[in-house]
């Protein structure tokens, strides 16, 4: 990711460990991280939630963590939010290490710089939608009218105007999660954490909210850490994806990278369900070249192969790929594109 290498990461996890069980926790803390922990824990009944996780998330990036149930996604997210203190390792937010930060200071960071959306919405049942949204503002001591104004603004943002006085029990699942999103954005956080926010919703609403999330992100440019177990959701949303198993990150990279070079069987089984034609973009398979092939149609690098195939007839054999500025950056041979996709599909007829 060129962007990430140029700028300082917004969030950085370094050698992050989380083990459950009091004895294991102290053992882990004493060793101070590293692979020595595994030897120390071998044979004990410690449950490992996250083991040696290293992540870097650039400002404005939408980073997705995925994996099967119990693979430690939530654990990593909650360690970053410090809802669970890591057993070992560092969690940097800009130039502050959250892992060693006292509660009082963390409270301040949460009041101003972090927002979180929960899988089961986490709405306070005895608050109305507006009161829920205003809650983080209220606890940091903002005057009532300012809270109300901001909460109303947030309500508009998620398209719920007019429903502010409803209690959570009077809202549908989709509406509840919109309130959850509005609440997490009320403090204008820099970092936005979402733990399977759409998993409890039905597919249509889920898709709608995904679109809205992308729209919001285009406007707000938060640094997002998004947890899901659904690869197609990850593909729709993510700039980059990390795949977890048993507390470890098996592989991280852009969706196309995972598709074309899966690190192991686990990853390839994970990515097996999505349509390559949709995931792979022209930019992923083009041959770089600055010169345009004359007579060939020009198409943006962010177009999916499927769209390319659908919009071009069989008579077109070569396509010029252009970047967002309209400059030609490469070319694609239509037949060869299909061949590439077929090769990137493990286990299927090749």
């Amino acid at each position: 990711m060129p962007e990430a290498s140029r700028t300082e990461p917004k969030i950085r996890c370094h050698g992050l460990w989380k083990v459950f069980g009091d004895a294991a926790e102290t053992a882990c803390a004493r060793r101070g991280g590293g692979t020595a922990i595994e030897e120390a824990l071998a044979g004990t009944d410690a449950i490992i939630g996250a083991s040696d996780v290293n992540l870097e998330i650039a400002p404005g990036e939408l980073f997705v963590i995925m994996g099967l149930s119990g693979s430690g996604k939530s654990t990593v997210l909650r360690c970053i939010a410090q809802l669970q203190r890591p057993s070992a390792g560092e969690v940097w937010l800009d130039d502050a290490n959250l892992a060693s930060m006292p509660e009082a200071q963390l409270m301040d960071i949460r009041r101003h710089r972090m927002g979180m959306v929960f899988q089961n919405f986490g709405l306070v049942p005895h608050f109305t939608a507006l009161q829920n949204i205003a809650f983080p503002l209220k606890v940091r001591g903002e005057p009532a009218e300012q809270c109300a104004a901001k909460a109303n603004e947030m309500l508009d943002l998620v398209g719920l105007n007019g429903r502010g006085d409803a209690y959570p029990s009077e809202l549908s699942g989709g509406q509840q999660q919109r309130v959850g999103i509005a609440r997490s954005l009320a403090v204008d956080p820099e970092v936005w954490l979402l733990d399977e926010p759409f998993s409890a919703l039905d597919p249509l609403i889920r898709k709608q909210l995904q679109d809205e999330l992308l729209e919001l992100q285009a406007r707000l440019q938060k640094t997002i850490l998004f947890v899901t177990h659904d690869f197609s959701e990850a593909v729709r949303l993510a700039d980059r994806i990390a795949i977890m198993r048993d507390g470890r990150i098996i592989q991280q990279g852009r969706a196309a990278e995972l598709l074309m070079n899966p690190a192991d069987d686990y990853v390839s089984r994970f990515v097996g369900d999505v349509s390559r034609l949709q995931v792979l973009k022209l930019g992923d398979i083009m041959q770089p070249s600055g010169r345009a092939v004359s007579g060939a149609p020009k198409m943006p690098a962010s177009l999916s192969i499927e769209d390319m195939l659908l919009t071009t007839g069989g008579d077109v054999s070569t396509i010029n790929v252009i970047d967002s500025n309209g400059r030609v950056t490469g070319r694609i041979d239509r037949a060869q594109a299909i061949e590439t996709v077929r090769n990137a599909t493990p286990g299927q007829t090749g």
Binding site: R110, M116, Q119, H126, P136
Partner: protein
Amino acid sequence: MSGATTSLDTSLSLDTARRAALALLVLLGIAAIIMPERLPALVASPLAGSDAIAAAINGGIDWFVAVFKPALRAVAAGLDQAVRGLQKILHATPWLFIVIAVTWLAWRLKGIGLAALCGTAVLYMALSGYWLKSMNTLSMVGVAVPLALAVGFGLGVLGAKSRRANAVIQPTLDLMQTIPTFAYLAPLVVLFGFGPVPGVLASMIYAAPPMTRNVLLGLQSVPQELREVSSMSGTTPWQRFCHIELPCAKQQILVGINQLVLASLSMVIIAAVIGGFDDIGREVLVATNKGSARFGQALAAGIVIVLLAVVIDRLTRAAATRREAVGRKTGRRAIPVLWQLAGLAIVLAASIALKTYADIIAVASAIFFRLGEVAVNGWLQDFIATHGITLDAIKKTALMYLLLPLRIGLTKAVLPITWGFTFTPAMQTVYLLTVLAGTAWLAWRGRTTAASLLLSVGLISYCGFSYMPWWVMFAGVCWLAWRHAGWRFALVACAMMLAITLTGHWQGALYSVYLCSAAILVCLLIGCPLGILAAKSDIVSGILRPMNDTLQSIPLYIFLIPAVALFQVNEFSALVAIVLYAIVPLIRYTEHGLRHVPPTLVEAARANGCSPLQRLLMIELPVARPAILLGLNQTVLFALAMLIIAVLVGARGLAEQVNIGLRDADTGLGMTAGLSMAFIAIIADRVLRGYANSLGTTEIKD
């Protein structure tokens, strides 16, 4: 004997539990056959009880009183002032105002129905001539409730916040629930003297635990996600407690308050045995002890207590569920506070102006009530005169065929004058062999529970609780405890029984167990069928439910009134009183269990062509068994709680010792006997709950 031996031969292939069952069975069989009365050494405990422990407790209390006298005096004086102050206020307030205020409150909280109920109830209190006594009771409750609230709430929060504190609070709550109420009245009297103060403090001690329990439950069941939401919103711990945890737990806490107020009233009424304060409980107690001669008074005053309890219960419950009722949806307009206050002030002024007339009316109607009471007394005496034979027959039957065999055994209870024949040695042998053979056969078929049940019932009715060899009792209880609550608890149970023996309460304990067993047997015989009926018919359920609700919320004393009126003061009245109170949970849980059998199972049974009876016996009852067992567990605890009150009408044993301890201010005696009762309750509770859990779990919330 022979049956037992054959089963021993096959026992090699059986699993440990069944082998243990068989071993115990053989032991018990031998015990029974040796005929305890020929070898008295086997019956009487070798560990002679002594009152050393009781004496030590008395010494400790005396020392404590001597050292802390000024502090105790100050506390007592403060509380006394508070009670008497509140009493003055309540006496000075015109009854008309209280009637109107309560009615209005009920109307605001719930609606016209509750308003009518509460209005009528309070009106009855005013017109029946027991107004001042009711106000005396209320003034004690009024001081005890805030104290219990503070203590109960504080402990609940502490327990929810600190795991270490919780480790102390939980077992204490369990113990408090099982210690009979009289047991801590005695030390309180010693510490604080007679009068309202020990009653208020006992009421606080009795009422705080349900509050603590509910606060704990409420705070612990706040969803983890909401705590995290709160953290992520950047709350301080205090903000989190106020804005998230407390409101989330509110519903449960309100349930706790309801239970607290009722418990407080119940205890204040019980504390009337101390005397020294002219409250309504005292009135009922005195009248009840006079039997049928003062039945009218006991009834009229008893109704006041019931109404007090019902009004308090319904009002606090309505307050607890108010949010939905007065929510935006009902569309009822909110009346501005200022208007409400103004209205109340006007009513107050009017009632003060009309006080003289109102009081005249009250006095006049009280005279009518007194006349009515006399009439009721006459009527009851007529009733007893005409139906005395029937009542006697009921009493005799129960005594002869239930109580006596359980207490002294068939060997002594079956006599020509009672059963009409002699229980000859030949018959005894046949009886024992039948029981043993049946047990052996059941055990051999692998039905350990049924086998041990048959054996214990058979042997207990053979030799009776009073002549039960102590080591058989020890062995049996230990085995049950080990089986259903683990070996650790078996050790604890052993220690508890040892403590009972050492304090000299073994015989008393046997008597208490005997009377409770008899009551529980009757409860099972009546309660389970009623529960089944209620589960099958909505009409029966609709009739039973409000009755049960009321029975559960009224103070225990009330149950003595009908028992004594009909059967005078004796063991059978005690039994009746216990059954009246303890049967409620059994009915409730049976109905609940049967109504919550998974519908798929019922449908499957139907599809397989079960008749309704087969369905009930083979599917529904077995599935509902854990729930029924939990109900039985409650029934046992209720029976033990009532036993202590039933002493006043003829129960004996431990409860009597507790009562003597209270009467003679012998704290040591009262406390050791009280703790012994608590031990019995704890053992029964753990064993039954363990058994219910091993059958599967059911969640029942009250």
